[in-house]
Amino acid sequence: MSYGLKIAWRYLTANRAQTALLVLGVAVGVFVFVFMSALIGGLAVFLIDRTVGSVAHISIAPSERNPYSLYGEVPSVLMATQASNEQRPQIRGATAIVPMLRAMPMVTVVAEEVTGNGFLVKGEALEPVNVTGMEPDQISAIANLARGLVAGSTELNLSTILVGRGLANNLGLGVGQTVRIRSDRGNEANMTVGGIFALGIASLDDRAAYVSIRAAKVLFDLPEGISRIEIKLADLQQAPQVARQIAASTGLDATPWTEANQQLLDGLTAQRRSGDLIKGFALVTIVIGVASALLLSTYRRRSEIGIMRAMGASRRFVVLVFVAQGALIGILGGVIGAGLGYLALSPFPLPELASAGGFPIDIRQGAYDSAILLTTLGAILASIWPARSAARVDPVTVIGQ
């Protein structure tokens, strides 16, 4: 062990009650840091989960195919183009694209979908509906229908349909009942309500219906292509970058969830900054506490410092002793504070599992390592002033006392 470190430890353990109080003070600051990190991070996870949890992180759709001039832009010529409506927008060759998407490192779910609009008809009642056709085994991969299921099951076959609770209420539908679906292509089919879900998002609960992709292909006259591909990522913050990669490699339109939720992101950024401010105050408190305690120690140990200097200890050695004390206080307080923070956060459920009105705290986002690191650095920084003050002690003055 470094001799300076040994002396630092000896000084800290010589007055245990005082050191314990100091470390406790630092630990409380670290606890606040960890708790704020977990709270702000948890709130973000909770809000994003509630907002984005039932939608894709990236939605891939066919790019618009407008006519363009083969000669490029000619300044003297005014050209007018008309969007083509001769072909329905659809993704062809999905069988080649989907495996490539699945192989991308960040991608966790790739769901092919056929979508379209239509009406659900029950007797005289008629409700507009957005129909999504999906592979039956992926029915909960994008919107977690299984979690939001309130009646029936999520199993799909060619003649079953899953509807939102609002839609079911409007039409007076229950599980097992038959409903007629009429697509905007003019195709109709009778389907049985297999399940009713409530995701807490009005646009889905009141207007969405899910059928198998094979049924949707028939309803919307898309025997070959699909309407879109939806993707979920391991880290949804990576969506803009991954979307750009996909667009570049496939030539399709890839839209990240962030584009449609800019206000949410702005709100989360503001929230994170507020949290950073509070964490910054906690760190400043730690620095002031450590600096004042060490300055007091410097004053109390003036005569010992003088003796050390008289015995040939360099100013650098004296600085090392006091900086090492700061570092030890920082590490101890940091580890204890982070540990206490972890223990205090343990009883809280993860924000994804938190009930509405619950306390969305994310134990995974306690920023324990950065709390310990920043506290140690802060404590070292705080010790520099007292250390320099100690190194300036004149041995002649204190030996004479």
């Binding site: 040994k6 000896r10 010589a14 005569s303 010992e304 015995m311 040939g312 200890a313 002649v396 004479g400």
Partner: protein, 227 residues
């Protein structure tokens, strides 16, 4: 007198405290050889402590020359003086000045450990040997605060010898001890001076203590009167 260990020429020390300037050392000349045991006598205010402080490289003279081991120390930088002091000069103070949170052995080993940045086994062995020599082998691991006044001063002597210095400066080393302890400490210093190549400069008011030294230097009003 043996070959000069220290040579002081025309040493002046003036303290400027506001408008009142006090000259404590007034062109002092002094030589001390290796293996010498010298008593420094003189009334209070004669400049004994100031001289010891300068010779110990803890303070710079205002002017004049101070050479030790052939090196000019007057005007040298703090870092060089600190290293020089650590290697070549030992101190014994009137009030022992041990580090209270350390054991006797740790106090003795300090000068060597501070130089190396670690406590080497060889240093601990030498520290133990020195404590044995001053009769404190059984108090080696006692905290400094648990030792008697005489024991503390013996630990201070062991500490002063740790780095095998050529010069030990002792400022009233027995001034705070009872007669028995004072006698023991002086016996110890005499023995070490006899057996090792260490010179001692002992500042004292006590003529008996001074009488045990081979040479006496008397200071009066910032200058050496006899010696």
């Amino acid at each position: 007198m043996s070959a000069p260990l220290i040579e002081v020429r025309q040493l002046v020390k003036r303290f400027d405290e506001g408008e009142a300037a006090v000259t404590v050392l007034k062109g002092l000349d002094l030589s001390i050889g290796t293996h010498e045991m010298v008593a420094l006598l003189g009334p209070s205010g004669s400049g004994k402590s100031t001289l010891l402080t300068i010779l110990g490289t803890l303070m710079q003279p205002t002017s004049g020359s101070y050479r030790m081991l052939g090196l000019e120390l007057a005007g040298a930088k703090d870092r060089a003086l600190t290293e020089f002091r650590n290697s070549h000069i030992g101190f014994v103070f009137q009030f022992h000045h041990l580090l209270p949170d350390f054991t006797a052995l740790e106090n003795v080993v300090f000068p060597a450990a501070a130089r190396r940045g670690r406590e080497a086994a060889a240093d601990r062995a030498r520290g133990a040997e020195l404590l044995d020599r001053v009769g404190l082998a059984d108090r080696m691991h006692f905290p400094a605060t648990k030792l008697s006044g005489g024991q503390k001063q013996r630990v201070a002597i062991a500490r002063a010898l740790m780095n095998q210095p050529e010069l030990v400066l002792a400022d009233e080393p027995t001034g705070n001890l009872d007669r028995e302890s004072a006698s023991y400490v002086m016996d110890l210093i005499t023995e070490i001076n006899r057996e090792e190549a260490t010179s001692f400069l002992i500042s004292t008011h006590d003529e008996t203590i001074a009488g045990r030294c081979k040479r006496q230097i008397r200071m009066v009003d910032g200058q050496v009167q006899t010696g």
